[in-house]
């Protein structure tokens, strides 16, 4: 695979916390712009750690990561916020700010980016409508159900129309109908050009999403137990 259209590139990447064993090792793969990727693997395989590397919450202990064409080891700290604004994150534990309303949580990325308050209000209300929480805009996260919190987290992640959306178990706390709606939202974003990476255990969700690429992690490395996936991962349809 060449570098044209590549949005993320991992070269011999390893990650360890402190002096412990490597959580991730020898990761070599590329994600293309506009791709839809599912990251799967058993618990403890390193999915969340890999996502942390993707959304710049961790630096690799070895190897090289390039994001949006920029090698991260050459990126100045002051340039990181600019890269992060191009990434939407849905955390596994939602990480909503408890003392802010659902509206203010969703509006946060736009406020950080310095948008005008009028634009923020319109966009946030529209996004809350998308995830079915218009009537809960003023509620604070502790008063929301798990599923509602997850939808607020998703709305916050996508409101800035990110180039890369990274979601850790985004449908884990919602019912099947809401899961389908959220996947529809991710699909719509993907069709608009956003690269989407979703870590999930939900095999059914993967099966219902044609054209997605599967990345399977085991014990910190990318594996292909079926033999149906090339390394580095490619679109599933290409190997079918």
């Amino acid at each position: 695979m060449g570098t044209a259209g590549v949005i993320v590139s991992f070269e011999s990447v390893g990650l360890r916390y402190g002096t412990g064993a490597e959580i991730l090792r020898d990761l070599d793969f590329k994600l293309v712009a506009g791709g839809l990727y599912f990251l799967t693997g058993p618990s403890g395989a390193g999915k969340t750690s890999l996502l942390k590397l993707l959304y710049l919450a961790q630096r690799p202990t070895r190897g090289r990561i390039s994001l949006f064409g920029q090698p991260l080891d050459e990126v100045d700290r002051n340039a990181l916020p600019g890269l992060r604004r191009r990434i939407g994150i849905v955390y596994q534990d939602f990480r909503l700010i408890d003392h802010l309303s659902a509206f203010d949580n969703v509006a946060l990325p736009l406020r950080i980016a310095g948008h005008a308050e009028d634009d923020i209000e319109t966009a946030t209300n529209e996004m809350l409508g998308w995830v079915g929480l218009s009537d809960r805009a003023g509620a604070r996260p502790p008063t929301l159900s798990g599923g509602e919190q997850q939808r607020v987290a998703i709305a916050r992640a996508v409101i800035g129309r990110p180039d890369l959306l990274v979601a850790d178990e985004p449908t884990g706390n919602v019912d099947a109908e809401m899961a389908r709606r959220l996947m529809h939202l991710f699909g719509a974003l993907n069709r608009l050009g956003t690269t989407v990476v979703i870590a999930t255990h939900d095999i059914g969700l993967i099966g219902e999403t044609p054209g997605a690429t599967l990345i399977r992690l085991e014990k910190g490395g990318i594996v292909d137990p079926t033999g149906g996936l090339a390394h580095p991962p490619v679109r599933r349809g290409e190997n079918a």
Binding site: A57, P81, R85, I97, L108, I112, E117, G160
Partner: protein, 290 residues
């Protein structure tokens, strides 16, 4: 256009309001109280030393050993000399009273050679040596003693106390700075989740720092104003009693308007310093994050 340091209402909400009421304000209030009191004492001591030094600059005593009864003649002779503004013979009774205080009532019975004593004040730029020489042509044993040299040890002590006060103000300032650093780090730790989310959605370190900077500035201003206000009250009470006496002794107030201005600026300076220290501490901590 909004200044870079100013926060919008939405930004102010990012740190929970409840956590603003920590011990920081109380701590800063106590430290500012101590700083203002110590600074006021130091300034008053410094001013007292300067006033005393000024008051004794042109004052001298003429002593004539064993010259009891010649005081008036000595004073007249002194008055006639160039450079002498005034001369007053200290009455013998006054000299005896002084001796009584030092030596007890037995001093009167002992046949002590009581000197004649004259208090003189010189004109500005008067030549003390020439005056003494001229005086000795008439009273060979007359000695001219500068009052300044008599109180020199006291002036040195007062100046040393002034420096001690200044050092204490600096030490309390450093302690307050350290307390602010700890408070800033504690606030950072308490709000770590919010900071991670902010960083995650693309906030710059500067945007995060501004939140804490605002909070510390507010705490410092409120705490500083409280401490300084309380100190002002104490100073008013003291000045209505002890300090006023000292002031009357020195002939004027011991704290001048410029001193009061300096004291009033202490809380503002303290708040500014606290804000800068907190800003630096938060920036250093943030740079340690990924």
């Amino acid at each position: 256009m909004r200044p870079q340091w100013a926060l919008t209402a939405a930004e102010r909400q990012l740190l929970p309001a409840g956590r603003r009421r920590g011990p920081t304000r109380g701590l800063i209030a106590i430290m500012m109280f101590v700083m203002v009191i110590v600074a006021a004492a130091g300034l008053a001591i410094g001013n007292a030393a300067a006033l005393l030094s000024q008051a004794t600059e042109a004052r001298y005593s003429i002593q004539l050993p064993g010259g009891a009864g010649q005081g008036d003649a000595l004073a007249r002779a002194a008055r006639d000399l160039d450079g002498v503004r005034s001369a007053r013979a200290v009455p013998e009774e006054e000299v005896n009273e002084t001796l009584d205080r030092w030596l007890g009532p037995a001093a009167r019975e002992a046949d002590l050679p009581v000197p004649a004593l004259v208090e003189v004040e010189f004109d500005d730029n008067a030549d003390a040596k020439a005056i003494e020489t001229a005086l000795r042509s008439e009273f060979a044993d007359a000695m001219l003693v500068a009052n300044r040299s008599t109180i020199q040890p006291l002036l040195r002590s007062l100046r040393a106390l002034g420096w001690v006060a200044a050092s204490l103000v600096i030490l309390v300032g450093v302690a307050a700075g350290a307390a602010v650093v700890l408070a800033a780090r504690a606030a950072l730790a308490a709000n770590r989740d919010t900071i991670d989310v902010m960083h995650g959605v693309g906030a710059t370190d500067e945007q995060v720092v501004r939140l804490f900077q605002y909070r510390i500035a507010l705490d410092s201003l409120v705490g500083g104003a409280l401490g300084a206000g309380l100190a002002a009250l104490v100073l008013l009470l003291v000045s209505a009693s002890g300090l006023a006496i000292a002031g009357r002794m020195a002939g004027q107030a011991l704290l001048f308007p410029v001193d009061l201005l300096m004291l009033a600026l202490l809380p503002l300076g303290g708040a500014l310093l606290a804000t800068l220290v907190a800003r630096r501490a938060v920036l250093v901590s943030l740079r340690a994050l990924p």
